[in-house]
């Protein structure tokens, strides 16, 4: 306790130096906390786009569908599978997928048609909440379609406009029909944005003349069930079919999500090493200007351990202040970034590995986004203070008294 009091008072002998050191630590920590929370928010947004909207947790397709996604490679009994999956507590919905050409006015574009069971799909995907304009599909409106945003731009259309779809039906005939655009999606992924045309399952079936079967079953697991457990369950049910997790389907994104969280540590280290040099220098200065005083303490019989602790506490107190101030300052910063986010939409849309990134980055605060930067700082400061503290502990009283 007495050491703590001494350490505290020692800090204020060179007020300006202490203030500058603490301010530098505070600034570094504050920015790292905000940065980590922003990255976390951006990763979650990406993950949400991947899992909640684009891919689901697990997908079931016919064997070889991935290599050759043709409208002929279908799951024959999707309704039965969906019912079985539901019995296991898994949410599931079927999708039909086929290629074609979309035309509106003078423009045309290659499109990917996706037939959706509107009611079932609400349980597996949040896509219906991801509209930039207009409305999502309605099971009763069989002529209504929803488009990816870049496709809508390419075709120069907006909700209410008409769209002609061309394709080759399963019976070999030329499919050709007129639709009305109900809505346009926000950015999801390169594929969906550039080519996605979403329609009701019934509309798809009549367009492509596919009365039964489905191309894909999208499966979601309950939050508490592990992905590996869920995928094993799906494999048991979907015998003879191809079962893949979103990690198999988007390996780059999966490894990006995994690695980015740990790569933040490198950013911490880079910034904190600069802080560390600052602290070592400040603490060394404070030890050397007090060499005589510390020598007297040792002459009086204060052991090296106590002297070490004293210097250590001085570093610790500065870090403590920096942590308290930085966290206090981060509260309004994080609140703002969580609410309003960092709006980068002025820069235009972005995507990574085919997955759209929301241009408004919102901070997400988790225990790790606070603990991570704080603990790394504490570790680095601890290591930095070691040298000055050891130096102080090893001062020889006689030499110190002669030192001017």
């Amino acid at each position: 306790m007495r050491l703590l009091v001494m350490a505290w008072r020692n800090l204020w002998r060179y007020r300006r130096r202490t203030v500058v050191t603490v301010a530098a630590m505070t600034l570094a920590l504050l920015i790292m906390v905000l940065y980590t929370s922003l990255v976390e928010g951006y990763l979650r947004d990406l993950e949400r786009n991947i899992v909640d909207i684009e891919l689901g947790d697990i997908q079931v397709v016919a064997p070889d569908y991935r290599n050759n996604p043709s409208i002929y490679r279908r799951i024959e009994n999707p309704e039965q599978l969906v019912a079985q999956l539901r019995d296991r507590g898994l949410r599931a919905s079927t999708r039909l997928i086929g290629g074609g050409l979309g035309a509106a006015g003078e423009s045309s574009a290659g499109v990917m048609l996706k037939g959706i069971d509107v009611e079932q799909d609400a349980a597996v995907s949040e896509i219906s909440e991801h509209l930039a304009s207009g409305q999502w599909l309605d099971a009763t409106d069989r002529a209504g379609v929803v488009l990816g945003n870049r496709l809508a731009k390419t075709l120069g259309v907006e909700p209410g406009d008409e769209l002609i779809l061309l394709g080759q039906a399963a019976d070999g005939s030329m499919a050709n029909d007129l639709y009305t655009i109900r809505g346009v999606l926000r950015s999801i992924s390169d594929d969906a944005d550039r080519a996605g045309v979403f329609m009701t399952e019934q509309a798809f079936r009549s367009f492509f003349v596919i009365p039964s079967g489905a191309h894909l079953i999208m499966v979601r697991r309950p939050a508490e069930r592990d992905l590996s457990v869920a995928v094993a369950e799906v494999r048991e049910i979907a015998v003879g079919l191809n079962v893949e997790t979103w990690r198999d389907l988007a390996p780059i994104l999966a490894s990006f999500l995994d690695s980015t969280r740990s790569l933040i540590l490198i950013v911490f280290l880079v910034i904190y090493v600069v802080v560390a040099i600052l602290i070592i220098n400040a603490m060394l200065m404070s030890v050397f200007e007090r060499i005589r005083e510390l020598g007297v303490l040792k002459a009086l019989g204060v052991g090296p351990g106590h002297v070490f602790t004293l210097v250590f506490m001085e570093g610790g107190l500065q870090t403590g202040i920096a942590i308290v101030v930085a966290l206090a300052l981060s509260v309004p910063g994080l609140a703002y970034l969580a609410d309003h986010g960092l709006d980068l939409s002025g820069l235009g849309g972005m995507s990574f590995a085919g997955m759209a990134i929301d241009p408004v980055w919102r901070a997400v605060v988790t225990p790790m986004t606070i603990i991570g930067p704080v603990v790394t700082l504490v570790v680095i400061v601890t290591v930095s203070v070691l040298y000055p503290a050891l130096k102080a502990a090893r001062i020889s009283p006689v030499a110190a008294m002669r030192y001017q």
């Binding site: 600034l27 979309g102 003078e106 220098n281 400040a282 060394l284 200007e289 849309g349």
Partner: protein
Amino acid sequence: MRARGSSLAVMAWRNLWRNRRRTLLTLSSIAFGVFLAVLFTAMQDRNWTDMINFAARLGAGHVTLQHPDYLEAPTLSKTVQGVDALKHLARAKPGVVRAVERVVGQTMLNTARESRGAGFIAIDPLAEDSTTFTVLGAVVTGASFTTSRDKGIILGERLAANLDVGLGDKIVYTMTDRTGEIVSGLARISGIVRTGAPSVDGGLCLLPIDAVREVLGYAADEATQVAIFVRDQRHADRIASQLNAEVRPGVAALPWHQIQRELAAFIAIKVGGARFMEALIAVLVAAGIFNTLFVSVMERLREFGIMMAIGWSPGRLFRLVVLESAWLGVLGLVGAVLVTVVPYWYLATKGIDVSGLMGENTAEVSGIAMPTTFRVGIFPAHAAFIAVAALVATLLAGLYPAWKAGRVDPVETIKLV
């Protein structure tokens, strides 16, 4: 006791070495800070230039001449006429390396059983090679077209697999012409490309330009774009604005970042983030320098008081401390060069292969493959900026301590033991 300017610098130099450990630590923080800034910047300069060049060679060049409305509504009706004259005009500009004409649009590809939508790029095979169009260097089966009137088509590998076709097979390509009519052409597969980029391999086909002109009813010198390639991507803006001043109405010159908005946004974020981190590092380093100089002034107050008492002016003391910080800045830069040169050389020539981080697939940013080798190459202007910024930061950090030194009261400080 009138010292010349140079002897003040000598004195500042000696003062610096009165506390070697402290000076060395401060220098190390400057050197480390500059080292980080140089590496960050060099990595970005190199990577973004690579990606921009790559994007240019995958898409529409560094500068694109096209119909003013094509960017908003890219349809085959938005064409430019007189492309030969435009190419001439562009090639005459200093810094322009190549200029080629293209027709770019969307099509549907049909075989007897399958149909797929895809983007198409129609090129003049005699004018283009892999330096203007990367995909031409990725032909794995077959070959490029021999003339611009060939009845050939080159498909991405995955697209070909999806359509279940191989070399020599027939394909019908369907597109809407400028009047909205649906028109078709027939082609035989003359080549298959594999680039590793999913958007190319699974969604792009190449056609000979005159064959497409015929199908679409275009004139012989009509195209949707003229792609211009420049030696240094940083000059794209200048060349685009020069061209804009000279071309007739109905043609617009756009630099790459207006066409590749997503890539530009990605780069802007990365550059902004790096600049921010560099500024943070600069502030932290400056705080360290401030601490050092401040304490070194405080512990010499008595000395300064004596100097003042024997006739030094406050201005001279101020200059002395400023010179000390200047020495720190200069030495810090020297140290920075020493610690940077070897890692920089290694990263500039050898690079680090980071493809392992992303698995065997290529990561695409806004449809442009990220370089899988981590290399550096800084623009000289950026290196100069970092050096100047480091010096300025050092001098700024020294101002307050120097002012403090100049304000010493000789009577007060000499009493102070």
